[in-house]
């Protein structure tokens, strides 16, 4: 085996660095472990620099204690300290160094944190090289019992990981959560409660924010803009303010959504969901992890697509990326919450929303079944089930804050530009009556009419769909602009124009057709394949039209 070597100048002396293969166990029998053992046996290094992954410190500490027994001159670098912090793992480096009797430095190779200190420690340690290795090395290597004991001692006093259930409690909980017959019903029950909880707490908040924003317009903005030319106050108030306010009212629901998802994610339950669903996913050419990514996609498709990086098999990854955009993301949820609240009775609305989630899964399943042969998967499914953990308040606050900033970023990037464009399209040329057939929007709608009439989508909704291509939040924002009203008034205007069949067909199309621009960009970046990206786009458009067509025509044929 070829070892990577290099020479660098350290404290005025040249040092030769030899990179040994990464190992987990000096007693191991893998090729890598043998290479390291033989190397240490034959060439005692002046200094061994041991780089450990701080996020896996519990598992990697055993290697350190094994190496310590060889009486090597050692410096330990705990890399990925930044990641460990994110996971809520606190490592007291000084305490650990004291307990182990060797220098320990927390570093982040990615961001360069702790690097100068680490280099200094290495330079210093090199002044007192390893004297040599005792012949008793082999016998020392056998002392496994001692290693376990040492590990427990150091871990318990120098490392703090977030509160977690004990192994026996985790086992007990798992025997219920992973029960052969109860496991799946419990999973669906948890998901049901999650969504109920989001709407129970979220909808009053949404109503409150909408009222507040409406009040702000009436009492502050309307008088303030009274002196402006009509076109300008129209653009500012009916365009930007109505559009953004309609979308902003949904922010509380979105924050709750991500908070609840974060709780489920942080407890370690998602890997259980992967275990439970793997058998079913395997029939579609996917695996348990693809299912978890579909769930994550309910929040936002973008991180879900990036999450597929853990898959090594390219075809499995591509197939997963093909189905994830069908996940009913939180942006699409806003559109559906708004329209179902306007067009369906309070009793029917939750069922309608639930049916859209079913359609979301159905679209993913159909796509996977149709294309699994093109993306045949051979990757073995192996997954760790971590102990259940309690999410920390700090992590949840960070998550909520992250969603607020994420929304503000999208608002400033897409939503404002989108609603301004919609306003221009529905108000130009200046001679035409706003939002009439003579405006640019009316002309585009009329031009696309042959395509959208068979699925029951009128010209106004067509314009909203065009902008929904950029970001789904713009759909309701642009409806607010097109109809020149927001909140309940907009809902009322929609009821005047649409019956429930048209509205449902519109929601089906919105659910399935091309994901937002960010998702497309992520698909392109992650797949590095323009053909695949174009295919994913074309397929979802075609499927959306087909599903809406079948639904609309069937419903009309049945007399609805």
């Amino acid at each position: 085996m070829e070892l990577l070597t290099g020479k660098i100048l350290l404290g005025g002396d040249m040092a030769e660095i030899i990179d040994l293969p990464g190992i987990y166990d000096i007693h191991g029998f893998s090729e890598d472990e043998q290479v390291v053992r033989h190397f240490l046996h034959d060439n005692v290094p002046d200094l061994a620099v041991v780089v450990l992954n701080a996020t896996q410190i519990e598992r990697q500490l055993s290697l350190l204690i094994q190496l310590k027994q060889l009486n090597l001159n050692m410096v330990v670098l705990l890399n990925m300290a930044d990641e460990a912090k994110k996971f809520g793992i606190t490592i007291d480096g000084d305490k650990m160094a004291e307990l182990l009797g060797m220098p320990i430095h927390l570093i982040s190779a990615k961001y360069g944190q702790g690097q100068p200190e680490a280099m200094q420690a290495i330079t210093k340690a090199l002044r007192y090289p390893t004297p040599g290795m005792a012949e008793a090395l082999r016998t020392q290597l056998e002392q496994d019992a001692h290693i376990e004991h040492e590990m427990a001692r150091v871990l318990s006093s120098a490392v703090q990981v977030p509160a977690r259930l004990s192994d026996t409690r985790t086992d007990k909980l798992d025997s219920l959560m992973l029960h052969p017959w109860l496991g799946l019903p419990i999973f669906f029950g948890i998901m049901y409660l999650l969504f109920q909880g989001i709407f129970f707490f979220g909808q009053p908040l949404q109503g409150g924010v909408a009222e507040l924003l409406g009040w702000l317009r009436e009492t502050v903005l309307d008088p303030a803009c009274a002196g402006l030319p009509a076109w300008m106050s129209g653009l500012l108030l009916d365009g930007i303010y109505n559009g953004v306010a309609t979308v902003a009212a949904f922010v509380p629901i979105i924050i709750l959504f991500f908070l609840f998802m974060a709780i489920v994610e942080d407890t370690g339950y998602l890997s259980r969901a992967a275990f439970l669903m793997d058998a079913l996913m395997a029939k579609m050419g996917l695996d348990g992890r693809s299912f978890v990514m579909l769930l994550m996609g309910f929040g936002c498709n973008v991180p879900a697509l990036m999450g597929t990086r853990v898959m090594r098999s390219r075809s499995l990854r591509m197939l997963s990326m093909l189905v994830i955009p069908f996940s009913l993301c939180s942006a699409r949820l806003q559109v559906f919450v708004f329209i179902t609240a306007a067009l369906f009775s309070p009793k029917a609305a939750p069922l309608v929303l639930f049916s859209l989630y079913l359609f979301s899964f159905a679209a993913a399943i159909i796509t996977a079944l149709l294309f699994k042969r093109q993306f045949a998967n051979t990757e073995p499914f192996v997954l760790e089930l971590p102990p259940y953990r309690f999410p920390t308040g700090r992590q949840m606050l960070l998550r909520g804050w992250h969603e607020v900033t994420h929304f503000l970023r999208r608002a400033s990037q897409f939503i404002i530009a989108g609603v301004v464009l919609v306003w221009l399209l529905t108000n130009l040329p200046a001679s035409a009556a706003p939002a009439s057939a003579d405006t640019l929007a009316g002309m585009i709608g009329a031009w696309l009419h042959p395509l959208f009439a068979p699925i029951g989508i009128n010209e106004q909704l067509t314009i909203a769909l065009i902008f929904g291509f950029v970001a789904k939040e713009i759909v309701i924002g642009s409806l607010a602009v097109i109809y020149g009203m927001s909140g309940d008034a907009l809902g009322g205007a929609l009821v005047q124009q649409l019956d429930w069949v048209q509205a449902y067909s519109f929601m089906l199309f919105t659910l399935i057709y091309t994901p937002c621009l960010s998702t497309i960009a992520t698909l392109r970046n992650e797949s590095k394949n323009n053909g695949f990206t174009a295919f994913a786009l074309a397929w979802s458009l075609a499927l959306a039209w087909l599903v809406s067509f079948l639904f609309y025509q069937a419903a009309r044929a049945l007399g609805y």
Binding site: Y24, D25, H27, G28, F29, S30, R59, T170, D171, D174, S175, L178, P180, W181, G183, L184, S271, A274, F275, L276, D278, A279, L280, A282, D287, G288, R312, P380, F381, V382, L383, E384, L385, P386, P387
Partner: protein
Amino acid sequence: MNANDFNPHTPLSSLAPGMRGTITDIHTDDALRQRLQALGFRSGKDIEIIRKASFGGPVHYSTVSLVARRA
């Protein structure tokens, strides 16, 4: 019951929940072996079959909590 009583070529996934054994060797490609080792699934370790998911789903192994799809 001990897995050593079995034919050494018995696939792990064919053992019943509650059975225990010791891993003596892992025959697989390098990538999977690397991953299994990272998860503490290596020669010399004792393992127990904890449960199997319904519909022919994955098998749950200890000593680290690990699940793997049946071949």
